[in-house]
């Protein structure tokens, strides 16, 4: 009788441990997206963070940070919502709501292009630990464009 109780508790423990460790493993795999990335055009740098279980990216650096018209830091002037056109581009979240789907892919998110004020459906695929394939598309994935982003190492200031 005691052996049966012990084995039931052991089975329960193993099942729970497996369940918890699978969450931890999934989180570790998903968190590889966190970091600072540079799109292929080199015009910006984007920092990806995790908020809750979703991933967000914000613009942290611009090659040309000053608006030549206003001589002030660039804002989201192409946003179709006039109320958001004065929001500074630095710090702007252009990647939103990405969820890790396994197999090195994050989906269900969107990407915003400040150059034209458009938001696209987006999937992210990590081809190696330092390279992302970011595919923005309209409706179906075939109607889209893929950009390659490279991971950056931020040099610590002394």
């Amino acid at each position: 009788m005691k052996n049966i109780k012990t084995s039931i508790l052991l089975t329960l423990f193993v099942a729970l441990t497996t369940l918890l460790s699978s969450f931890v493993y999934q989180d570790a795999a998903a968190d590889r997206l966190i970091g600072v990335w540079e799109p292929s055009n080199g015009r910006a740098r984007v920092k990806v963070e995790k908020i809750g279980s979703k991933y967000y990216g914000k613009i942290v650096w611009l090659k040309e940070p000053i608006d030549p018209n206003t001589k002030e830091p660039k804002t989201d002037k192409n946003n179709p919502d006039p109320g958001l056109q004065n929001v500074p581009l630095k710090g702007y979240r252009n990647l939103k709501d990405f969820v890790y789907a396994g197999n090195n892919e994050w989906n269900e998110g969107t990407i915003y292009d400040p150059l034209n004020g458009s938001t696209y459906s987006c999937t992210i695929k990590m081809t190696d630990k330092n390279t992302l394939e970011i595919r923005g598309y309209i409706g179906v994935s075939a109607l889209g464009r893929t950009d390659i982003w490279k991971r950056l190492e931020v040099k610590t200031k002394k």
Binding site: N3, K5, S7, I8, L9, L12, L19, L20, F23, G35, V36, E38, S40, N41, G42, R43, R45, K47, I51, G52, S53, K54, Y56, K58, V60, W61, K63, E64, P68, N69, N78, K90, G91, K96, D113, L115, N116, G117, S118, K129, N130, T131, R135, G136, Y137, I138, A142, L143, G144, R145, T146, D147, I148, K150, R151, L152, E153, V154, K155, K157
Partner: protein
């Protein structure tokens, strides 16, 4: 050994259920928190200067220039449009084989109209290579006014053929952009077109016409790219090999710019905002159209060399998100509308008269009408 739950006492069951409930609840709570935060994720103050000095994590990673510059009009993925040329006169030469009888020569064209479909889909979009494939279908129908034929004359066979069947072009094209580094690139465009009085059931692939262009370019800044190259083209109606110059530019205020691939097209761009643009300029349009539907002309190996210059104003705007409207109006100037006979099945390469002065079978002239074009387009991210 069989498992019997009744053998567990109450406190053991409670303990087990509590652990299981706790584990599942932690996971569910995390999802709820995320859902709440995702609507409006917090942004904290951050020292952005720490991102000024960075390096690639991957050794040997390179930056490459993009195919686009800032402020350029959006690339059209799929477009369907309608082209309308107002009334004009068509003065057609006597057809060689009918020289003895003579043929009516002046025709009033009430209008020329047709639909135009284009698509251009990215196949590979890598940092170091962009490859796109496209297809196009353009048609031109001729609404020619009926007229009485003078005694001793016959209806001009070209006018009859145009009125009955019209002209159309159907083709495939490809674009390859290969950057070498942050400023230098190579651009290749190629197309294979079937142009003639065909219909969709009658498309003789052996009469495909091949065009290509190769440009070596420089992109010195985010707002300028230029290049030089060579093109094999039918844009002036017959085959030519010509040098080309590319110059795309946007000023610092993002108000004015140019989009030029000379001599094919050249436009000055005025950007009202990122969703409204006006262009002024021209485009050379043309093709070599096989006269195929009528077996008599087919046997003669005849092709119409059609080339025209479209001086125009173009307005493009976003109707909703990625759906763009393009409206253009202007003046269609006839450059060539002559009929040529192939020599042993081969095109005569005249090189603007430098290599051959072989006469055309018919030398025709068209007056120049106003024209109008409207299209709806799905634009690229």
């Amino acid at each position: 050994m069989n498992f019997n739950p009744s053998l567990l006492n109450k406190s053991q069951i409670k303990t087990g259920l509590f652990i299981a409930f706790f584990a599942v609840n932690v996971h569910l709570n995390a999802q709820v928190d995320t859902a709440n935060k995702s609507q409006n994720p917090p942004t904290e103050e951050e020292d952005f200067s720490q991102y000024d000095e960075v390096g690639f994590a991957e050794t040997g990673a390179k930056r490459y220039c993009s195919p686009k510059i800032e402020g350029l009009s959006p690339q059209k993925l799929i477009g369907i449009g309608y082209d309308f040329q107002a009334a004009y006169k068509m003065n057609l030469d006597t057809f060689n084989n009918n020289a003895n009888t003579g043929s009516a020569h002046e025709y009033n064209v009430k209008n020329s109209t047709g639909i135009r479909f284009n698509c251009n889909i990215p196949v590979i979009s890598k940092t170091n290579l962009v490859w796109q494939m496209g297809a196009n279908y353009w048609e031109t129908g001729y609404n020619i006014q009926e007229q009485s034929i003078p005694v001793g004359y016959v209806a001009n066979p070209v006018a009859t053929e145009l009125s009955k069947n019209g002209l159309r072009t159907m083709g495939l094209n490809t674009t390859i952009f290969k950057p070498f580094n942050e400023t230098r690139f190579l651009l290749f465009q190629g197309s294979a077109d079937l142009s003639g009085d065909y219909d969709l059931k009658l498309m003789p692939a052996k009469y495909l016409k091949y065009s290509a262009a190769l440009v070596y370019g420089v992109r010195p800044s985010e707002r300028k790219q230029w290049g030089v190259g060579l093109a094999r083209t039918y844009r002036v109606g017959e085959l030519n090999y010509i040098p080309i110059v590319m110059f795309n530019y946007t000023d610092a205020q993002n108000k004015w710019g140019s989009e030029i691939l000379f001599p094919a097209r050249a436009h000055v761009r005025r950007t009202i905002n990122s969703r409204n643009m006006i262009f002024a300029g021209y485009e050379l349009e043309g093709q070599s159209y096989r006269m195929y539907r009528n077996t008599a002309y087919r046997a003669e190996d005849l092709e119409i060399r059609r080339g025209e210059i479209r001086l125009r104003l173009v307005y493009e705007c976003s109707l909703k998100d990625f759906i763009w409207l393009s409206v253009q109006g202007g003046y269609r100037i006839n450059y060539r509308y002559d009929v040529d006979r192939l020599k042993n099945g081969n095109e005569i390469y005249r090189a603007f008269g430098l290599l051959s002065d072989e006469p055309y079978v018919m030398t025709n002239s068209l007056t120049n009408p106003l024209y109008f074009n409207i299209s709806i387009n799905l634009v690229s991210p």
